[in-house]
Protein backbone atom coordinates (compact mmCIF):
# COMPACT_ATOMS: atom_id res chain seq x y z
CA UNK A 1 0.00 0.00 0.00
CA UNK A 2 1.68 3.19 -1.15
CA UNK A 3 0.88 6.80 -0.32
CA UNK A 4 1.57 10.32 -1.53
CA UNK A 5 5.12 10.17 -0.15
CA UNK A 6 5.73 7.17 -2.37
CA UNK A 7 7.12 4.90 0.33
CA UNK A 8 5.25 1.66 0.98
CA UNK A 9 4.03 0.82 4.48
CA UNK A 10 6.69 -1.87 4.69
CA UNK A 11 9.47 0.59 3.86
CA UNK A 12 8.22 3.07 6.44
CA UNK A 13 7.88 0.42 9.16
CA UNK A 14 11.38 -0.89 8.52
CA UNK A 15 12.79 2.65 8.62
CA UNK A 16 11.11 3.27 11.95
CA UNK A 17 12.45 0.05 13.42
CA UNK A 18 15.90 1.00 12.19
CA UNK A 19 15.71 4.13 14.30
CA UNK A 20 13.98 6.78 12.16
CA UNK A 21 11.07 6.96 14.58
CA UNK A 22 9.77 10.30 13.30
CA UNK A 23 8.52 8.54 10.19
CA UNK A 24 5.72 6.98 12.17
CA UNK A 25 3.93 10.24 11.36
CA UNK A 26 3.59 9.03 7.76
CA UNK A 27 1.57 6.02 8.88
CA UNK A 28 -0.57 7.98 11.32
CA UNK A 29 -1.48 10.60 8.71
CA UNK A 30 -2.03 7.95 6.08
CA UNK A 31 -4.48 5.91 8.19
CA UNK A 32 -5.79 8.49 10.63
CA UNK A 33 -9.33 8.41 9.24
CA UNK A 34 -9.32 4.95 7.65
CA UNK A 35 -11.18 3.28 10.50
CA UNK A 36 -12.63 6.38 12.15
CA UNK A 37 -16.11 5.57 10.91
CA UNK A 38 -15.81 1.90 11.92
CA UNK A 39 -14.81 2.96 15.45
CA UNK A 40 -17.60 5.55 15.60
CA UNK A 41 -20.27 3.01 14.63
CA UNK A 42 -18.86 0.36 16.93
CA UNK A 43 -18.72 2.64 19.95
CA UNK A 44 -21.70 4.88 19.20
CA UNK A 45 -19.78 8.00 20.16
CA UNK A 46 -17.42 10.19 18.17
CA UNK A 47 -15.37 11.09 21.23
CA UNK A 48 -14.97 7.49 22.28
CA UNK A 49 -13.99 6.60 18.72
CA UNK A 50 -11.34 9.31 18.61
CA UNK A 51 -9.86 8.08 21.89
CA UNK A 52 -9.86 4.52 20.61
CA UNK A 53 -8.11 5.39 17.36
CA UNK A 54 -5.54 7.51 19.18
CA UNK A 55 -4.85 4.73 21.70
CA UNK A 56 -4.56 2.21 18.88
CA UNK A 57 -1.92 4.28 17.10
CA UNK A 58 0.11 4.61 20.29
CA UNK A 59 -0.19 0.90 20.96
CA UNK A 60 0.79 0.06 17.39
CA UNK A 61 3.93 2.19 17.77
CA UNK A 62 4.83 0.45 21.01
CA UNK A 63 4.47 -2.99 19.44
CA UNK A 64 5.76 -2.16 15.98
CA UNK A 65 8.57 -4.68 16.29
CA UNK A 66 5.94 -7.39 16.54
CA UNK A 67 4.21 -6.49 13.29
CA UNK A 68 4.87 -9.69 11.37
CA UNK A 69 3.93 -8.33 7.93
CA UNK A 70 5.08 -4.70 7.68
CA UNK A 71 3.65 -4.38 4.19
CA UNK A 72 0.23 -4.99 5.72
CA UNK A 73 0.61 -2.51 8.57
CA UNK A 74 -2.96 -1.30 8.12
CA UNK A 75 -4.42 -4.80 8.56
CA UNK A 76 -2.43 -5.30 11.74
CA UNK A 77 -3.40 -1.83 12.94
CA UNK A 78 -7.06 -2.67 12.33
CA UNK A 79 -6.79 -5.64 14.68
CA UNK A 80 -5.28 -3.47 17.40
CA UNK A 81 -8.10 -0.95 17.00
CA UNK A 82 -10.65 -3.74 16.93
CA UNK A 83 -9.37 -5.15 20.22
CA UNK A 84 -9.53 -1.69 21.72
CA UNK A 85 -13.13 -1.21 20.53
CA UNK A 86 -14.16 -4.60 21.90
CA UNK A 87 -12.45 -3.90 25.22
CA UNK A 88 -14.25 -0.58 25.49
CA UNK A 89 -17.65 -2.20 25.09
CA UNK A 90 -16.78 -4.85 27.66
CA UNK A 91 -15.87 -2.15 30.15
CA UNK A 92 -19.05 -0.10 29.80
CA UNK A 93 -22.05 -2.29 29.25
CA UNK A 94 -24.35 0.75 29.32
CA UNK A 95 -25.72 1.66 25.96
CA UNK A 96 -24.38 4.96 24.73
CA UNK A 97 -27.04 7.67 25.19
CA UNK A 98 -29.17 8.51 22.19
CA UNK A 99 -27.68 12.01 22.25
CA UNK A 100 -24.32 10.55 21.35
CA UNK A 101 -25.75 8.61 18.44
CA UNK A 102 -27.57 11.73 17.34
CA UNK A 103 -24.40 13.77 17.66
CA UNK A 104 -22.75 11.71 14.96
CA UNK A 105 -25.59 12.30 12.55
CA UNK A 106 -25.98 15.98 13.44
CA UNK A 107 -22.32 16.90 13.30
CA UNK A 108 -21.72 15.39 9.89
CA UNK A 109 -24.84 16.31 8.04
CA UNK A 110 -25.76 19.85 7.09
CA UNK A 111 -29.54 19.56 6.75
CA UNK A 112 -31.63 16.43 6.55
CA UNK A 113 -35.30 15.65 6.94
CA UNK A 114 -36.09 15.18 10.63
CA UNK A 115 -37.64 11.80 10.01
CA UNK A 116 -34.59 10.40 8.26
CA UNK A 117 -32.43 11.79 11.07
CA UNK A 118 -34.58 10.09 13.65
CA UNK A 119 -34.39 6.78 11.80
CA UNK A 120 -30.60 6.99 11.68
CA UNK A 121 -30.45 7.63 15.40
CA UNK A 122 -32.82 4.77 16.07
CA UNK A 123 -30.74 2.34 14.02
CA UNK A 124 -27.47 3.42 15.69
CA UNK A 125 -29.13 2.94 19.06
CA UNK A 126 -30.37 -0.48 17.99
CA UNK A 127 -26.90 -1.39 16.75
CA UNK A 128 -25.51 -0.72 20.20
CA UNK A 129 -27.92 -3.31 21.59
CA UNK A 130 -26.28 -6.03 19.51
CA UNK A 131 -23.27 -8.01 20.66
CA UNK A 132 -19.99 -6.45 19.52
CA UNK A 133 -19.44 -9.33 17.09
CA UNK A 134 -22.88 -8.86 15.50
CA UNK A 135 -22.46 -5.11 15.35
CA UNK A 136 -19.04 -5.48 13.78
CA UNK A 137 -20.13 -7.71 10.91
CA UNK A 138 -23.05 -5.35 10.22
CA UNK A 139 -20.77 -2.29 10.26
CA UNK A 140 -18.10 -3.88 8.09
CA UNK A 141 -20.61 -4.99 5.47
CA UNK A 142 -23.22 -2.23 5.46
CA UNK A 143 -21.20 0.80 6.57
CA UNK A 144 -17.73 -0.01 5.29
CA UNK A 145 -19.04 -1.88 2.26
CA UNK A 146 -16.88 -4.99 2.52
CA UNK A 147 -17.97 -8.30 1.07
CA UNK A 148 -18.41 -11.36 3.27
CA UNK A 149 -15.24 -12.79 1.75
CA UNK A 150 -13.25 -9.67 2.58
CA UNK A 151 -14.58 -9.62 6.13
CA UNK A 152 -13.80 -13.31 6.56
CA UNK A 153 -10.21 -12.74 5.48
CA UNK A 154 -9.75 -9.78 7.76
CA UNK A 155 -11.25 -11.46 10.84
CA UNK A 156 -9.76 -14.88 10.06
CA UNK A 157 -13.13 -16.58 10.15
CA UNK A 158 -15.49 -18.28 7.67
CA UNK A 159 -18.20 -16.80 5.49
CA UNK A 160 -20.90 -19.18 6.83
CA UNK A 161 -20.21 -18.19 10.43
CA UNK A 162 -20.29 -14.53 9.47
CA UNK A 163 -23.63 -14.97 7.73
CA UNK A 164 -25.05 -16.72 10.78
CA UNK A 165 -23.90 -13.80 12.94
CA UNK A 166 -25.30 -11.26 10.49
CA UNK A 167 -28.68 -12.94 10.12
CA UNK A 168 -29.06 -12.99 13.88
CA UNK A 169 -28.19 -9.28 13.84
CA UNK A 170 -30.88 -8.58 11.24
CA UNK A 171 -33.49 -10.26 13.43
CA UNK A 172 -32.44 -8.41 16.57
CA UNK A 173 -32.42 -5.10 14.75
CA UNK A 174 -35.89 -5.75 13.41
CA UNK A 175 -37.07 -6.51 16.92
CA UNK A 176 -35.48 -3.32 18.29
CA UNK A 177 -36.96 -1.13 15.58
CA UNK A 178 -40.39 -2.74 15.52
CA UNK A 179 -41.93 -0.32 17.96
CA UNK A 180 -40.55 2.77 16.34
CA UNK A 181 -42.34 4.66 13.57
Amino acid sequence: MSGPEGATDGQVVRAILAGDTERYGVLVTRYRDRYARYAARMLGSRDAAEDAVQDAFVRAYDQLAQCRDPDNFVGWFFLILRNRCFAERRKSKDVAPLEAAGAIAAAERAEAPVEADERRRALQHALLELTPEQREVFVLKHVEGLSYGEIAERLKTSVPSLKMRMHRAYDRLREQLKDRP
Binding site: T21, Q63, L64, R68
Partner: protein
Protein backbone atom coordinates in the same frame (compact mmCIF):
# COMPACT_ATOMS: atom_id res chain seq x y z
CA UNK B 1 -3.23 -53.01 -4.19
CA UNK B 2 -2.79 -54.04 -0.55
CA UNK B 3 1.00 -53.84 -0.87
CA UNK B 4 0.77 -50.37 -2.39
CA UNK B 5 -1.48 -49.16 0.39
CA UNK B 6 0.84 -50.62 3.01
CA UNK B 7 3.80 -49.00 1.31
CA UNK B 8 2.09 -45.61 1.21
CA UNK B 9 1.13 -45.91 4.85
CA UNK B 10 4.71 -46.75 5.83
CA UNK B 11 6.02 -43.86 3.73
CA UNK B 12 3.60 -41.51 5.42
CA UNK B 13 4.59 -42.77 8.88
CA UNK B 14 8.24 -42.34 7.99
CA UNK B 15 7.63 -38.74 6.93
CA UNK B 16 5.68 -37.90 10.05
CA UNK B 17 7.80 -39.94 12.42
CA UNK B 18 11.11 -38.81 10.95
CA UNK B 19 10.91 -35.31 12.31
CA UNK B 20 10.07 -36.29 15.85
CA UNK B 21 12.65 -39.07 15.95
CA UNK B 22 15.41 -36.63 15.00
CA UNK B 23 14.28 -34.18 17.69
CA UNK B 24 14.27 -36.92 20.31
CA UNK B 25 17.74 -38.03 19.22
CA UNK B 26 19.08 -34.50 19.76
CA UNK B 27 17.80 -34.45 23.31
CA UNK B 28 18.94 -37.95 24.24
CA UNK B 29 22.40 -37.23 22.80
CA UNK B 30 22.76 -34.15 24.98
CA UNK B 31 21.58 -35.97 28.09
CA UNK B 32 23.45 -39.24 27.53
CA UNK B 33 25.67 -40.03 30.50
CA UNK B 34 24.62 -36.89 32.32
CA UNK B 35 21.27 -37.99 33.74
CA UNK B 36 19.57 -41.29 34.43
CA UNK B 37 17.48 -42.86 31.62
CA UNK B 38 14.28 -42.12 33.54
CA UNK B 39 15.10 -38.42 33.79
CA UNK B 40 16.11 -38.37 30.12
CA UNK B 41 12.76 -39.90 29.15
CA UNK B 42 10.86 -37.36 31.25
CA UNK B 43 12.78 -34.44 29.78
CA UNK B 44 12.06 -35.71 26.27
CA UNK B 45 8.33 -35.85 27.01
CA UNK B 46 8.27 -32.40 28.58
CA UNK B 47 10.40 -30.94 25.80
CA UNK B 48 8.24 -32.36 23.01
CA UNK B 49 5.07 -31.04 24.61
CA UNK B 50 6.71 -27.68 25.34
CA UNK B 51 7.90 -27.33 21.74
CA UNK B 52 4.36 -28.01 20.54
CA UNK B 53 3.19 -25.06 22.66
CA UNK B 54 5.81 -22.76 21.14
CA UNK B 55 7.97 -22.77 24.26
CA UNK B 56 11.79 -22.90 24.20
CA UNK B 57 13.18 -26.36 24.86
CA UNK B 58 16.80 -25.56 25.65
CA UNK B 59 16.23 -24.28 29.20
CA UNK B 60 14.65 -27.62 30.13
CA UNK B 61 17.60 -29.59 28.81
CA UNK B 62 20.07 -27.23 30.50
CA UNK B 63 18.30 -27.61 33.84
CA UNK B 64 18.45 -31.40 33.65
CA UNK B 65 22.15 -31.31 32.77
CA UNK B 66 22.75 -28.95 35.68
CA UNK B 67 20.98 -31.31 38.08
CA UNK B 68 22.95 -34.28 36.85
CA UNK B 69 26.24 -32.39 37.23
CA UNK B 70 25.35 -31.34 40.76
CA UNK B 71 24.64 -34.94 41.76
CA UNK B 72 21.00 -34.19 42.53
CA UNK B 73 18.66 -37.22 42.99
CA UNK B 74 16.53 -38.08 39.94
CA UNK B 75 13.21 -37.15 41.49
CA UNK B 76 14.54 -33.72 42.46
CA UNK B 77 15.74 -33.15 38.89
CA UNK B 78 12.36 -34.20 37.56
CA UNK B 79 10.61 -31.79 39.92
CA UNK B 80 12.89 -28.92 38.90
CA UNK B 81 12.42 -29.52 35.16
CA UNK B 82 8.64 -29.73 35.60
CA UNK B 83 8.66 -26.51 37.61
CA UNK B 84 10.66 -24.79 34.90
CA UNK B 85 8.22 -25.97 32.22
CA UNK B 86 5.46 -24.44 34.33
CA UNK B 87 7.34 -21.14 34.54
CA UNK B 88 7.78 -21.12 30.77
CA UNK B 89 4.02 -21.58 30.39
CA UNK B 90 3.24 -18.75 32.78
CA UNK B 91 5.77 -16.50 31.04
CA UNK B 92 4.29 -17.27 27.62
CA UNK B 93 0.79 -16.45 28.88
CA UNK B 94 1.99 -13.21 30.45
CA UNK B 95 3.68 -12.18 27.20
CA UNK B 96 0.63 -13.11 25.15
CA UNK B 97 -1.41 -10.74 27.30
CA UNK B 98 0.96 -7.95 26.28
CA UNK B 99 -0.08 -8.95 22.72
CA UNK B 100 -1.14 -8.77 19.95
CA UNK B 101 1.14 -11.38 18.41
CA UNK B 102 2.77 -14.57 19.66
CA UNK B 103 5.82 -14.08 21.90
CA UNK B 104 9.20 -15.32 20.65
CA UNK B 105 11.08 -18.07 22.50
CA UNK B 106 13.87 -15.76 23.69
CA UNK B 107 11.30 -13.53 25.39
CA UNK B 108 9.60 -16.56 26.94
CA UNK B 109 12.89 -17.90 28.33
CA UNK B 110 13.73 -14.44 29.68
CA UNK B 111 10.25 -14.19 31.19
CA UNK B 112 10.74 -17.49 32.99
CA UNK B 113 14.08 -16.25 34.31
CA UNK B 114 12.38 -13.11 35.60
CA UNK B 115 9.64 -15.17 37.29
CA UNK B 116 12.25 -17.39 38.92
CA UNK B 117 14.06 -14.31 40.16
CA UNK B 118 10.95 -13.13 41.99
CA UNK B 119 8.84 -11.10 39.58
CA UNK B 120 5.21 -12.10 39.00
CA UNK B 121 3.29 -12.60 35.77
CA UNK B 122 1.73 -9.13 35.92
CA UNK B 123 5.22 -7.64 36.15
CA UNK B 124 6.24 -9.66 33.08
CA UNK B 125 3.24 -8.39 31.09
CA UNK B 126 3.97 -4.80 32.11
CA UNK B 127 7.64 -5.04 31.17
CA UNK B 128 6.82 -6.63 27.83
CA UNK B 129 4.41 -3.79 27.01
CA UNK B 130 6.83 -1.10 28.15
CA UNK B 131 9.54 -2.53 25.89
CA UNK B 132 7.86 -0.94 22.88
CA UNK B 133 9.38 -1.11 19.40
CA UNK B 134 12.89 -0.11 20.43
CA UNK B 135 13.66 -2.73 23.07
CA UNK B 136 13.65 -6.49 22.70
CA UNK B 137 11.36 -8.00 25.29
CA UNK B 138 13.94 -10.66 26.15
CA UNK B 139 16.59 -8.08 26.96
CA UNK B 140 14.27 -6.04 29.15
CA UNK B 141 13.11 -9.12 31.05
CA UNK B 142 16.64 -10.40 31.62
CA UNK B 143 17.68 -7.06 33.09
CA UNK B 144 14.59 -6.97 35.28
CA UNK B 145 15.25 -10.52 36.49
CA UNK B 146 18.85 -9.61 37.29
CA UNK B 147 17.74 -6.58 39.30
CA UNK B 148 15.29 -8.74 41.23
CA UNK B 149 18.05 -11.29 41.82
CA UNK B 150 20.14 -8.48 43.28
CA UNK B 151 17.46 -7.82 45.85
CA UNK B 152 15.54 -4.96 44.23
CA UNK B 153 11.86 -5.53 45.09
CA UNK B 154 9.63 -6.41 42.12
CA UNK B 155 7.61 -3.19 42.09
CA UNK B 156 10.75 -1.07 42.09
CA UNK B 157 12.37 -3.20 39.44
CA UNK B 158 9.42 -2.58 37.12
CA UNK B 159 9.36 1.11 38.04
CA UNK B 160 13.07 1.60 37.36
CA UNK B 161 13.09 -0.18 33.99
CA UNK B 162 9.91 1.64 32.93
CA UNK B 163 11.29 5.06 33.89
CA UNK B 164 14.53 4.50 31.98
CA UNK B 165 12.74 3.36 28.83
CA UNK B 166 10.18 6.16 28.95
CA UNK B 167 12.91 8.73 29.54
CA UNK B 168 14.25 7.71 26.14
CA UNK B 169 16.97 5.30 27.27
CA UNK B 170 18.21 2.86 24.64
CA UNK B 171 19.12 -0.80 25.11
CA UNK B 172 22.65 0.00 26.35
CA UNK B 173 21.10 2.14 29.09
CA UNK B 174 18.76 -0.63 30.15
CA UNK B 175 21.56 -3.23 30.12
CA UNK B 176 23.67 -0.98 32.36
CA UNK B 177 21.08 -0.86 35.15
CA UNK B 178 22.32 -3.81 37.24
CA UNK B 179 25.85 -2.37 37.28
CA UNK B 180 24.48 1.02 38.30
CA UNK B 181 22.42 -0.40 41.13
CA UNK B 182 25.45 -2.39 42.24
CA UNK B 183 27.57 0.76 42.12
CA UNK B 184 24.97 2.58 44.16
CA UNK B 185 25.10 -0.14 46.78
CA UNK B 186 28.93 -0.28 46.95
CA UNK B 187 29.47 3.46 47.09
CA UNK B 188 26.79 4.27 49.60
CA UNK B 189 26.87 3.46 53.28
CA UNK B 190 24.22 0.91 54.15
CA UNK B 191 22.38 1.62 50.90
CA UNK B 192 20.19 -1.33 50.01
CA UNK B 193 19.60 -2.39 46.40
CA UNK B 194 16.01 -1.18 46.80
CA UNK B 195 17.18 2.27 47.81
CA UNK B 196 19.76 2.45 45.02
CA UNK B 197 17.10 1.46 42.48
CA UNK B 198 14.61 3.99 43.84
CA UNK B 199 17.19 6.73 43.52
CA UNK B 200 17.92 5.84 39.90
CA UNK B 201 14.19 5.74 39.09
CA UNK B 202 13.64 9.18 40.61
CA UNK B 203 16.51 10.57 38.55
CA UNK B 204 15.03 9.11 35.36
CA UNK B 205 11.59 10.52 36.12
CA UNK B 206 13.05 13.93 36.89
CA UNK B 207 14.95 13.85 33.63
CA UNK B 208 11.81 13.02 31.65
CA UNK B 209 9.88 15.89 33.23
CA UNK B 210 12.64 18.51 33.29
CA UNK B 211 11.70 22.04 32.13
CA UNK B 212 12.78 22.75 28.60
CA UNK B 213 11.49 19.43 27.35
CA UNK B 214 9.11 19.72 24.43
CA UNK B 215 5.67 19.89 26.00
CA UNK B 216 2.72 18.20 24.23
CA UNK B 217 0.35 20.48 22.32
CA UNK B 218 -2.94 21.12 24.10
CA UNK B 219 -5.85 18.98 22.87
CA UNK B 220 -7.62 20.07 19.70
CA UNK B 221 -10.62 22.20 20.80
Amino acid sequence: MKTLRAFLLLALLALVGGGTTLHAQDISARLAGRVSPEVAALVQRLATSAAARGLPVDPLIQKAIEGGAKGVPADRIAAAVRALAGQLDVAAAALTRAGPTHPDTDAIAAGAFALNAGLNDTNVTTLARVSGPRHAQGGTLRVAGTLAAMGVPAAQTVELVTQVIEAGGDSADVLALPAQVSAGVSHGRGVTPAQAAAGLARAAAARANAPGQQKPKPPHP
